[in-house]
Symmetry: C2
Subunit: 334 residues, 2 copies
């Protein structure tokens, strides 16, 4: 038998187990052009919360009583496509199923020589590309400028801070635990790190950014951003990558921030990684190069077991993860 | 005797008469390089509210017990500069004084052949340039796109809507009285106009923008903007020119809007006209050309009397003005 995790109910606030349900199903049979894959690793990402709502967005909402879908790494166990063969490791947007039949042309073969296959869900996947394009294309940091990153110890943020250092900037990371602060300072080499749970973020930023803030890479929104906006330099750039603090709060309210943008002639730009589809190869090559040269590193938080995917997802909103949160579902055959 | 209007006290909310005081002073004597001018017209503008606060911004705060300073048109009555002569009409940032001695190189001579001299405070001055650069450089509208303008009947907004029509866009204006709605539709030629005081702005925008919103030129912020953000098209541009609804509301709060920017990959950019200093001549020439060709028109609301400058200023926050609000202080000599 096979197992799948479906959307059972749409949450209005924080998602819990009642919004998901595990369903048993038949082993799928691949059709011509498809491959049967065994799921090895599942990626849980904050943006998926938005797909649980039934609202128009850049990506279709999840359907009730259908499997959730997200980034995953899987092994081909049976192929009806000339492009892939048994034993190949692939990645793509896959349903939360232990085994799935998927079209071969909708997945990508992973090159295991570039690093552990899980990196295709992290630093060599969507989070890495999100960090790279968001920072370089929207943030456009210049050497010597000050970059502030919220959610700095997460999958995207931990890559952003490192790219910021590669580009010669002063980098200040904001995260929510002492362990993350130590990681940011000692492993990722940020200039300053602020624990938003124990420090006054506004004052800590003032101290950490004596020359003001030129680039704000925002994964979090909420009160952390409220503390950043008044400290923006003239012509600052805000990379609006995420706003995780608002995702589970219907009608989240806060200080209006328009006047801060006017005072500093600042730019604020939202984006999703799909906007850069035509440039994925460029980003991928650059990240792989830095990784190989030892200029980039990464962390993974691995939860074990298919049935624990929802828990790993819930953990994102509590800041439970360091670096990329993944779920290990099965061992590869080889 | 001469009269001056000083900043008496810094307001925290809505400014009132107690925050200003009229002071009598000696007639100033121009020094070498200066001219003695008689103030003819004074411009009151929403951005001046920000200068009443003692906070770091793009422009220095007004000083307590010193004259307020703002855009004005004046006549040279005595010249100690070879650049200007008696009878010349000049414009610049002048103190709120009936007579003032000012450096000749800090003011600009007005060419009366281009139109009434008051246009140098409006359509051929800062508001016109603000409309032109904000819309074309940040809004970057393409033919056929939909532009929404808040504060559409004001000095800046009324120019923006007309430039939008010149560029071949669908233009929807938002304003606060039936008179302004009629003006927008019948004189300025907008496609739709919404009275935010009597209509549900969200629903009215849905009806007025069947293809969504590509450019939002925002002078107002607040609840009007709250209604716009969810209706932005992919890659929309928000020109954050002003946020008058927040200026008199300390700690103004509202729905957090970061997720809307992410969903629509929208850009939001604050600016002040000084950012475009190097391009003033280009903007001025284009506006003068359109004005001459009859493609642009403008409205002025004129208050009479030096002592009524504060009242004219207060009126801005109540939407009392159609088009450019100016105060007539004196008749020119000729």
């Amino acid at each position: 038998m096979n197992r799948e995790i479906h959307l059972n109910e749409r949450p209005t606030g924080t998602p819990t187990h009642e919004h998901f349900k595990t369903v048993e199903s038949e082993q799928p049979v691949p059709q011509e052009g498809e491959v049967l894959v065994k799921t090895l690793y599942v990626s849980v990402d904050p943006y998926m919360r938005g797909r649980m709502n039934n609202v128009k967005s850049y990506i279709e909402p999840f359907q009730l009583n259908e499997p959730i879908e997200g980034g995953a790494v899987a092994e081909v166990v049976e192929s009806k496509s000339s492009d892939l063969e048994e034993g190949d490791i692939i990645t793509g947007m896959l349903p939360w199923k232990e085994f799935a039949a998927v079209q071969a042309d909708r997945v990508r073969k992973v090159d295991p020589s570039l690093g552990p296959v899980t990196t295709s869900l992290g630093i060599l996947g969507m989070p890495g590309l999100t960090a790279y394009f968001g920072l370089t294309d929207i943030g456009t940091p210049k050497e010597g400028e000050t970059i502030v990153v919220s959610g700095a110890a997460g999958a995207v943020g931990s890559t952003v801070v490192q790219i910021g250092k590669i580009l010669g900037c002063r980098v200040v990371g904001i995260a929510g635990s002492d362990e993350k602060i130590t990681y940011l300072k000692e492993t990722l080499g940020v200039d300053e790190a602020i624990n938003y749970k124990t420090e006054n973020v506004y004052q800590a930023l003032e101290a950490a950014c004596p020359n003001g803030i030129d680039v704000y890479f925002d994964n979090v929104g909420g009160e952390i951003s409220d503390a950043v906006y008044p400290q923006l330099n003239k012509f600052a750039r805000i990379v609006q990558c995420g706003a995780i603090s608002s995702y589970n709060v219907p009608n989240d309210k806060g200080p209006r921030m328009q006047t801060h943008l006017i005072k500093s002639s600042a730019l604020m730009k939202g984006f999703t990684i799909g906007d850069y589809q035509d440039r994925f190869q460029e980003g991928f090559m650059q990240l792989a190069k830095w990784l190989k040269e030892g200029k980039l590193t990464y962390e993974e938080t691995v939860t074990e077991g298919f049935e624990n995917i929802p828990d790993a997802f819930f953990g994102l909103f509590e800041g439970a993860n360091m670096g990329k949160q993944i779920v290990k579902v099965a061992e590869p055959s080889h």
